[in-house]
Subunit: 395 residues, 2 copies
C-alpha cells in the first residue's frame, strides 16, 4: 500500500529506538542512551511544585496554550538565557516539544530534497534522522580535540551548491567540547560564507567543574557578525526527557516560521509540563539540584574513566570528559564497533556503535559509552567485560 | 536571510493562532476555538490520579518513553477502541502528541510537493495547514446533510494524477455527522479507487443522546474491503487539549513509518501526560465524567440554538447539532463572513469565518460558532449581537 507513499523515504531511526528502550532491559549493563538516571530525576521537587499549583493554573494546564509557549515559561527561559549572556533581545524564543522538535522545525523550514547540510562527525543521530527525512545531502566535517575542523568546514562551506545550514553540538556530546578559539574560527568561516548555524546545546548545564564554564560559552553569545544563529536547548538532560520541553532561540524571521510550522505539528507543547518546567526553573531549588546532578555525573564519569584506565588495552584511546554523559572509545585499527557489540551483548553489556553518529552511517572504528544512567556499581564490571571483548577482537 | 529557506513555503496558520488565543481575551464573547470549557476540565480527577502514582511511576514519567507510546496507555487505548468495535487486531496503534501530530505524520509520510489530497469542505484548518506545508494540492469535495458528497468524491478520486489520500472528519466537526449509508457509499468509492483514507474522529465521545451512537460508527469499523484506513482520535476534546495525547490506528506498514518519523519530530509524547491519560481512561470515573460533559455541552448547544431560533433572521440557515462543539451559520446571499466579523468584534463578539475551513481559503458565505467554551450566560447576548450585525450586513 505504500506505493502511494513518498517516492523517497529514508529514516535511520531504528538505532534511536534501540537506544531508548535499552534502559528497560534490566539484566543488561547498558551504556547506551543519553537519558538521565531516573534515580537522580527531581521527583520530589516536581511533586512539591504540582501541589502548590492553584486550581486556575491547573485548569490552564489542561487547556490549549499559545503555540509559542506558556508565556510565563517563555519569560523565565528568556531570563535564564540572558543570565548566560545569550542575546535574547535581538532574537525570538520558541518553546518546543524537546529540542528534537527545534531541530526538526529548522529542517522543515530550510530543506528541500537534495539540499545540503553540514554536520560535525560524530553528531546526534536524531538530527541525522530529521535531516534525512527531508532528503537532505549530509556533508560531514571531522572534529578534533578543539571541535569541528576549520579547514573541513571551509571546504564544505565552499562546495557548490551552497549548504542551507551547519549543525553543531559544541558542548559535551562529542568527545571534546569546542575551544573558544575554535568557535571564533568557525564563526568567521560561517560568516564569510553567510551560512546559517544551528547550535544544539542540551548539555550546557552539565559541566563537572565551575572553571569549565569559561569554555562552554555558546557560539550565539560570541557572535557579533550578524551571522544568523539558531540556538536550541532543553530541559531533557536536566529535569527529565519525559517532560519534552526544549526551546529555540533565533532570528525573528526564522523562529516566526518555525512557530507557524509547529502549529501543524502539535499545536502547542503540553501545558502542564511547561508549567512544571517554569516553576522549577524559577525556584531556588533549581541551582541546588543542578549542583547535585553535576556532582553525581562527574563521579560516574570518573568511575568509568578509572575502570577504562585500569582495564582497557593501551591501543584503545578515549576522551576524559569534563561534562555531559559520554566517553567515546576509538578502537585499534581493524576493529569494528559492530563486532565488539556482537560479542558484548551476550555477555550483558551494550553501547552505541560509532556509525550511528556518522552522518554517512559508515565509519565504525569508534563507539560511545554513556555513563549517565548506569548504576555506579555496574560501571566497572561493564567496562571489564568490554575490555575483554575488545582484546578478543584484535588479538 | 530566508533566501536560504525553502523555495515554496506556505502555511495558513495565523487563523489557528487567533483561535487559540481568543479565549484569553476575557472581555470578548468568544465563539471561536474548539477548546473545551476550562471549568469542565477534570482537574480534581487529574489531581487524584497524580497523588496515587507511586514514586517509581513518577520517575518513569520524567524519563524518555518508547516512541510508540507508554505501553500501558497503548494497551488501554487498544481496549478502549476495541470496545467501540474498531479493528485493533489487524492494525497498529501509535500514541501521538495530539491528533494534530497524527495528521501531520500521515502528511509527512505520503506527500511530495504537488501531490493531491482530497478533503471535505468545510474541514479542519490544522489539517489544511499540515497538508499545505508539504505543498500538496488540495482537492475539496462539498458536504451535504449526509456527509461528503459521493459524486464529488468519485469525480475527485478519478482525476489524474491520483490523490494520495482522502481526509474526512465524519462526526461533529462539520455541520452534519455522516449518515451510515453515506459512509458505506464513500467506502465503496475509496475502495474502487484504492485510495487511502485518513479518518479524524476527535469528537467521537461528544454525542448528546445515546441513540446517536448508532450513527457515529467510525468508517474504519465498517470497512471490510481491505481499504487502508488510518484512524485518529484524541483526548483533547475530552480530558483537555493541554494534555496533547492522541493516537493513530492504521495498517502496520503505515503506522510503522509514522512511528519512525515521530522519532525525529519529538522522540516521544511526554510520559507524564500519557500516564495521566491512561489512569483516567481505565478509571471508573471516566464514564461518569463523560456523561457529565456530554450533558453540559448539550445544554450549551441548546442554549445557542434557542437564541439562534429567537434572534437570527430567517435567511440565515444553521445546523442543529447532535454532538460536538459547533453550530455553522450559512449566510444570506451576498453576505461575507469577514464583514460580519468586522462589525461583530467591536461589539465584543467573535467567531471563525468560513474561509478558514475552506481548503482553497476562499468561500466565506458561512461561519462557525463554537458553544463549548463560552459561559452559558454569555451565549444569548452574543447571538443577539451577531443577529443584529448580520441583519445590518444584508439590509
Amino acid at each position: 500500500m505504500l506505493r502511494y507513499a513518498k517516492s523517497v523515504f529514508n529514516v535511520c531511526s531504528q538505532d534511536i529506538r534501540d537506544v531508548m528502550s535499552a534502559a528497560d532491559r534490566a539484566h543488561m549493563i547498558s551504556f547506551t542512551g543519553g537519558m538521565p538516571d531516573k534515580r537522580l530525576l527531581p521527583v520530589d521537587e516536581i511533586d512539591a511544585i504540582y501541589c502548590k499549583l492553584g486550581r486556575e493554573v491547573k485548569q490552564r494546564g489542561l487547556q490549549y496554550g499559545p503555540t509559542g509557549g506558556y508565556p510565563a515559561l517563555v519569560e523565565s527561559v528568556r531570563c535564564y538565557l540572558q543570565a548566560k549572556g545569550l542575546p535574547v533581545e535581538h532574537h525570538r524564543l520558541l518553546i518546543t516539544t524537546g529540542s528534537m522538535q527545534a531541530i526538526y522545525l529548522i529542517a522543515k523550514i530550510f530543506l528541500d530534497p537534495g539540499d545540503r547540510v553540514i554536520l560535525e562527525h560524530p553528531t546526534f543521530m536524531g538530527a541525522i534522522a530529521a535531516f534525512k527525512s527531508f532528503q537532505a545531502a549530509l556533508i560531514d566535517v571531522a572534529t578534533d580535540e578543539q571541535g569541528m575542523e576549520p579547514e573541513g568546514l571551509a571546504r564544505a562551506a565552499a562546495q557548490p551548491p551552497l549548504s542551507k545550514f551547519a549543525y553543531v553540538i559544541p558542548n559535551f556530546h562529542n568527545p571534546w567540547p569546542y575551544s573558544m578559539a575554535r568557535k571564533e574560527a568557525l564563526l568567521d568561516i560561517l560568516h564569510q560564507r553567510k551560512l546559517v548555524l544551528l547550535e544544539d546545546d542540551p548539555y550546557n548545564e552539565l559541566y563537572f567543574e565551575e572553571a569549565e564554564q569559561n569554555r562552554i560559552t555558546p557560539m550565539i553569545a560570541m557572535n557579533n557578525t550578524g551571522l544568523p544563529i539558531c540556538y536550541t536547548g532543553s530541559f531533557s538532560k536536566v529535569l527529565g526527557p519525559g517532560m519534552r520541553v526544549g526551546w529555540l532561540l533565533g532570528p525573528e524571521e526564522i523562529v516566526r516560521h518555525a512557530e507557524a510550522v509547529k502549529q501543524s505539528i502539535d499545536a502547542c507543547t503540553p501545558m502542564f509540563t511547561q508549567m512544571r518546567a517554569n516553576e522549577f526553573l524559577i525556584s531556588p531549588r533549581f541551582e541546588t539540584y543542578l549542583a547535585g546532578i553535576r556532582l553525581a555525573y562527574k563521579q560516574r564519569g570518573q568511575t568509568m574513566l578509572a575502570a577504562l584506565d585500569r582495564y582497557m588495552p593501551k591501543a584503545v584511546r578515549y576522551n576524559r570528559p569534563t561534562g555531559g554523559f559520554y566517553i567515546w572509545l576509538f578502537l585499534p585499527e581493524g576493529v569494528d564497533a559492530a563486532s565488539v557489540l556482537h560479542r558484548a551483548m551476550p555477555r550483558g553489556v551494550e553501547f552505541v556503535v560509532g556509525k550511528s553518529f556518522d552522518p554517512q552511517g559508515v565509519k565504525n572504528d569508534f563507539l560511545r559509552l554513556a555513563f549517565c544512567h548506569t548504576a555506579e556499581e555496574n560501571i566497572e564490571p561493564g567496562i571489564r567485560v568490554l575490555a575483554e571483548v575488545i582484546e578478543e577482537c584484535y588479538d
